[in-house]
C-alpha cells in the first residue's frame, strides 16, 4: 500500500475518532444534572427566594476567578429583578481552604455570610500565599466584621458546620466538579466556561421560566 495514503488515512481516522468522542462526550455531559445534588437547602442564597432561576456556584474563597466572577454574578441578579437568585456552595480545592470555608459557614449561621465572603474576596492577597490558603490571616480579616467571634470559632468545630462542608464536597465529587468556579443554572452546567456562556444560559433559562 502506498505509504503516504496509509499515513494520511491512519492519521485522519484517529483525528476523526477524537472529534467524534469529544462531540459524544459533550452531548452526554450537556444534559441536566440531578437537582438534588446541585442545590442544598440552607445554603447561602442571594436574591428573591421565589425566583424561578437559580444559579448554583461552586466556589473556593481562595480562587481568583471566583472573586472576579463575584460582581458579575451580582450583575446578573440585578439584570433580572425578582427572577434570578444565586446559591453559593463550597468547593475548597486549594490547600488550606477547608478551614476558610468553615469560617464562612460559621459566619452564615450568624447571618453574616455575604459580608465575610466579600471581605475574603476583596483581600485575597492578604491570606493566600503561593496558591495556598492561610486560615490564620483569613480568620484575622473577619475580626473586622461585627459578629460573635467566640461563637464563630466554636462553630468552626461544630459537627453540623463540618457536615455542611462535607456534603458540598461529596456533591461536587458526584457532579464531577474539578475546577472553580463551576456554575449550574437550574441544574444545567455551562456548555463551556466563560462569563458570556453563563450570561447566555441565564438569559435562556429566564426566557424559558417566565
Amino acid at each position: 500500500m502506498n505509504r503516504k495514503l496509509l499515513f494520511i488515512s491512519g492519521i485522519s481516522l484517529i483525528i476523526l475518532a477524537f472529534i467524534t468522542a469529544v462531540v459524544l462526550y459533550q452531548q452526554q455531559a450537556g444534559g441536566g444534572q440531578n437537582p438534588a445534588l446541585v442545590e442544598r437547602p440552607g445554603a447561602p442564597v442571594k436574591g428573591p427566594h421565589d425566583a424561578r432561576v437559580t444559579i448554583v456556584e461552586f466556589f473556593d474563597p481562595a480562587c481568583g476567578t471566583c472573586a472576579d466572577f463575584y460582581p458579575l454574578v451580582q450583575q446578573l441578579i440585578e439584570a433580572y429583578p425578582g427572577k434570578v437568585r444565586v446559591m453559593m456552595r463550597y468547593a475548597p480545592l486549594h490547600t488550606g481552604s477547608d478551614q476558610v470555608v468553615l469560617m464562612l459557614e460559621a459566619a452564615h449561621r450568624q447571618g453574616k455570610y455575604w459580608q465575610a465572603l466579600e471581605m475574603l474576596f476583596n483581600n485575597q492577597r492578604r491570606w493566600i500565599v503561593g496558591h495556598t490558603s492561610q486560615p490564620g490571616p483569613a480568620r484575622a480579616l473577619l475580626n473586622a466584621i461585627a459578629l460573635d467571634h467566640a461563637q464563630l470559632d466554636a462553630d468552626m468545630t461544630n459537627p453540623e458546620v463540618i457536615g455542611v462542608v462535607q456534603r458540598d464536597m461529596q456533591d461536587l465529587q458526584s457532579l464531577g466538579v474539578r475546577a472553580t468556579p463551576e456554575f449550574f443554572v437550574n441544574g444545567k452546567p455551562l456548555p463551556s466556561f466563560g462569563y458570556r456562556q453563563l450570561a447566555d444560559l441565564v438569559k435562556e433559562t429566564v426566557e424559558k421560566s417566565y
Binding site: R3, K4, L6, F7, G10, I11, I14, I15, F18, A21, V22, Y25, Q26, L93, H94, T95, H131, G176, R178, A179
Partner: protein, 145 residues
C-alpha cells in the same frame, strides 16, 4: 537490495505504528484534561513534554524513511518511560509521598480514571511509552547489518 527494501518496509511500518500510537496517546491525554477536565498533575505534564514532540518528530522520519529518527525518538520515549515509572512507584507507595513534586492540591498519587477496573491514566501513559520504546527498538533491529 530486495532484502534491504523488505527491511525498510518493516522498519517503516514499525515507525508508522509508533507514530499512530503517540498521536492516540496525545489526543487521549488532551481528552482527559480538556474535555473531561481531569486535573493534570506535574508528573503528567513532564510525561507530556516527552510525548508531544514525538507526534511531530516521528512523521519526519517517515517521509522519506530515515532511521536517524529512531535515535532522537528513543531519547524522548526513554524520558517519558522513566517519569511514568516514577509515577507508578509513587502511586504504589514505593516512593514516599513527601518527595513527590506535586502542589496545588493535585497529588500525583491520586488517580482519577479506572478503565476496565485497573487502567488508570498513569498506567496508560507507562504502557504507551513502553510500547513506543519497543516499536522503536524493533524498527532499529530491522536494519541489515
Amino acid at each position: 537490495m530486495n532484502k534491504t527494501n523488505a527491511d525498510n518496509q518493516a522498519g517503516w511500518l514499525l515507525v508508522f505504528a509508533a507514530c499512530t500510537l503517540v498521536l492516540i496517546a496525545t489526543l487521549g491525554s488532551l481528552f482527559f484534561s480538556e474535555v473531561m477536565t481531569v486535573p493534570v498533575c506535574k508528573l503528567c505534564w513532564y510525561q507530556r513534554i516527552a510525548l508531544y514532540p514525538l507526534v511531530v518528530i516521528l512523521p519526519f522520519g517517515l517521509f522519506p524513511f530515515d532511521r536517524r529518527v529512531l535515535r532522537i525518538a528513543a531519547v524522548f520515549a526513554a524520558i517519558g518511560w522513566l517519569i511514568g515509572l516514577f509515577q507508578l512507584l509513587v502511586i504504589a507507595g514505593v516512593i514516599p509521598e513527601s518527595i513527590q513534586p506535586c502542589v496545588q492540591g493535585i497529588p500525583c498519587s491520586d488517580t482519577h480514571i479506572a478503565l476496565f477496573g485497573f487502567l488508570n491514566i498513569p498506567t496508560l501513559s507507562f504502557l504507551a511509552f513502553s510500547l513506543v520504546g519497543a516499536l522503536l527498538y524493533f524498527a532499529h533491529r530491522t536494519k541489515t547489518p
